[in-house]
């Protein structure tokens, strides 16, 4: 054969050197691609947070018309908390209850769509997302009609004596929690569905073969494998629910106000920027603390 392997005795090694300008362009390219988006987020997301932090330390004696002086008024924080701790606590309480309700409803729903729906899967999925097709506020207002004192639901509950003759649903904590659950439920269901859908049904068969009891099969196989979706869904539910004030405003009364209502009025009604900023920061810090402890305990940070 004429083919020869030059095992040795070949020309000296020269490193491959593609055109240098291509190399340089290549290295700069990712930064160019990132620049506009990152700049936007830095200027309109990160920088505002700094400004908010600064505003939370302004002299509370100032006002929007006279201007605020930066006095490093750390006292704004305890003052704000002292004044509004009930609303603060209520935010977390309501969203925690709503979360539990949402898990009880959302898990079976996600599971049924992912594993039991067969050819109806897409239709049911559309039904879950359907609420998001129409305006959030308009839907929340619809609950006003459903829960109305003259409505069929209240009438029914009064008839079966679950509600007293003057009992009502609207303008109660029940209405607010129900509204929160309703509004954020799809955000819990969708990621959960995504991870349950990847679950191989044969695993369940194997599990019921090995563990026999469906409950144990669920605990040993389904639940652990759906964990990423569960974590993502829980966060996507909890974060916006805690910061929400629309449900409390439309379905509740000032007695049901959450911290969002207070912040809203601090900025837009009372024009007390330092207090509003301090409360915003407290809310964000509390949520981030919860999120990160939760993620750490759940052992994953790559969920979103």
């Amino acid at each position: 054969m004429t083919a020869l392997a030059h095992l040795g005795g070949t020309p000296p090694t020269t490193p491959a050197a593609p055109a240098p300008d291509r190399r340089r362009r290549h290295r700069l390219l990712p930064y160019l691609l990132l620049l506009p988006g990152a700049a936007w987020l830095l200027v309109f997301f990160a920088l505002p947070l700094l400004q908010l932090a600064a505003a939370s330390l302004y002299d509370p004696a100032g006002s929007l018309s006279t201007g605020y002086a930066m006095t490093w008024a750390v006292g704004n924080y305890p003052d704000a908390l002292q004044a509004y701790w009930p609303q603060f606590l209520r935010s977390f309480l309501y969203s925690a209850i709503a979360l539990v309700l949402a898990l009880l409803m959302g898990y079976p729903l996600a599971y049924a769509i992912a594993q039991k729906a067969g050819r109806w899967k897409n239709l049911l999925l559309v039904a879950v997302v359907a609420p998001m097709f129409t305006s959030f506020l308009v839907r929340t207002l619809a609950w006003k009609t459903i829960l109305s004192d003259n409505g069929a639901l209240v009438g029914l509950l009064r008839d079966v004596h679950l509600l007293g003759p003057d009992g009502r649903l609207l303008a109660t904590p029940v209405a607010v929690v129900l509204g929160l659950t309703y509004n954020f439920l799809p955000f819990l269901v969708l990621p959960l569905y995504a991870s349950l859908e990847r679950l191989d049904p044969r695993l369940l068969e194997a599990a019921s073969d090995l563990y026999a009891n469906p409950l144990r099969a669920f605990g040993r196989v389904t639940l652990p494998l759906s964990m990423p979706g569960l974590i993502a869904g829980t966060l996507l539910f909890f974060i916006p629910a805690t910061g929400d004030y629309i449900n409390a405003e439309l379905l509740g009364t000032p007695n049901e106000y959450m911290i969002g209502n207070v912040i809203d009025s601090a900025f837009l009604v009372r024009l007390d920027y330092p207090q509003g900023a301090a409360l915003s920061f407290l809310l964000m810090a509390a949520i981030l603390a919860i999120v990160f402890t939760y993620l750490r305990r759940a052992g994953t940070e790559e969920v979103l």
Partner: protein
């Protein structure tokens, strides 16, 4: 592309590719003559795909050069090279139908009227009428043929085939092998064909290169490599070999004499790659003859005795496993014409062969202690036989030991 520099051989000169600290291709030099059908053979992960990718321009070598004829194409972009690839994973474009997949290369070169050529190409790979389908609607084998058509239609100077027949059934595979050989002979394109399948490599190519751990271990015509392998790795990767640990004890006029495990073996001098010190004595399983009676061994033949441990019927042939006194399993193939009824498991037999069928390879002493270089290629045996564990002695020589031996 049409206006090529003078066509010519492909040369890799000291090409090395590292991924981080891992060396995938190690100082490889290789010439693929123009118009040849060249097979690159090697175990999984030895760097075959990486080598092809450097030739195609999809990977830049860490060092070294790639030359096509007189032209250094090391830094050339892939789309400027007169080289096309049939990818190991097909890489068909899922959003284009089969017709457009095949026409893709022609269109990128500005050719407008492609219909007829595409039809002809599809007919060639027996896919006429499939033009309007999407890749996802084809079977694995059909997709593979589309990948082939998509590359061939461009009449490149060189075609790189990365295991192009892996997904086909035996019959179709055979057909495609014939088809590929025919096309290659017809159009005179250089084919660089990567495969796991040693039989396919030997059957199709006029030159075979056996690659191991990023290096070429041996290169030559299939028969040359098979009959006279250059290293224990090649001896066991391309077919199987029985390798017996031995020492050179002298030579007479034409033969080298070696001794191992109390036996003395002769090998023609021109079939010995080492003439002193520790060596492997090798012989292919089909060259061996079995006799039940030791005294019936003809004069002048090499012989080894042992106990039959297993007999595997494989249609055209039967494989006998012979366990020697020192625990090595030797493999013997015999054609199934006159099966000897006395050969049953448990009996003492002798295997003998003509000295000109032996070959001698250098053996690295430090490495030879615990491996006694048995016959069987890992993976070629199996099927519930009791080999493969080190205690049995049926160990294929680990590749890293062999680098020093080559």
């Amino acid at each position: 592309m049409a206006q090529e520099a003078p066509a010519g051989d492909l040369r890799l000169a000291d090409v090395t590719k590292r991924f981080g600290v891992f060396t995938a291709v190690d100082d490889l030099s290789l010439t693929v003559p123009q118009g040849s059908f060249f097979a690159l053979l090697g175990a999984s992960g030895c760097g075959k795909t990486t080598t092809l990718r450097m030739i195609a321009g999809l990977e830049a070598p860490t060092s070294g050069r790639v030359l096509l004829g007189d032209r250094d194409i090391t830094g050339l972009r892939p789309y400027k090279r007169p080289v096309n690839t049939v990818f190991q994973s097909y890489a068909l474009f899922p959003h284009l139908d089969i017709h457009e997949n095949v026409a893709f290369g022609l269109r990128r070169r500005g050719i407008r009227k492609v219909g007829e050529q595409v039809e002809r190409m599809l007919a060639l790979v027996q896919l006429d009428g499939y033009g309007r389908r999407r890749p996802a609607q084809l079977s694995g084998g059909q997709q593979q043929r589309v990948a082939l058509a998509r590359a061939l239609i461009n009449h490149p100077q060189m075609l790189l085939l990365d295991e192009p027949l892996g997904a086909l059934d035996l019959k179709l595979r055979r057909q495609m092998q014939i088809e590929l050989k025919r096309i290659q002979a017809e159009v005179g394109i250089t084919f660089l064909h990567v495969t796991h399948d040693q039989e396919e490599a030997m059957w199709m190519a006029d030159t075979v290169a056996v690659m191991n751990a990023g290096r070429i271990e041996q290169l030559g015509a299939p028969a040359d490599i098979y009959e006279y392998p250059a290293s224990p790795f090649v001896a066991n990767f391309l077919g199987q070999s029985n390798l017996i640990e031995a020492e050179v004890s002298g030579h007479d006029a034409d033969d080298l004499l070696v001794t191992g495990h109390g036996y003395r073996f002769a090998t023609p001098l021109e079939r010995a790659r080492s003439r002193q010190g520790p060596v492997w004595l090798g012989v292919r399983p089909e060259k061996l003859h079995l006799v039940a009676d030791r005294t019936r061994v003809p004069d002048g033949r090499n012989a080894v005795s042992g106990v039959l441990t297993d007999i595997c019927y494989a249609g055209v042939s039967t494989e006998f496993l012979l366990r020697t006194a020192w625990g090595q399993e030797m493999s013997v193939f015999t054609a199934n014409n006159d099966p000897d009824a006395r050969l049953v498991p448990g009996v003492e037999v002798t295997a003998h062969w003509h000295p000109r069928h032996s070959f001698v390879l250098p053996r690295d002493d430090s490495a030879g202690d615990d491996a006694d270089g048995s016959a069987t290629r890992p993976g070629a045996t199996g099927g519930g036989r009791a080999d493969g564990s080190p205690a049995d002695g049926g160990v294929g020589v680990p590749p890293q030991r062999l680098e020093a031996a080559t």
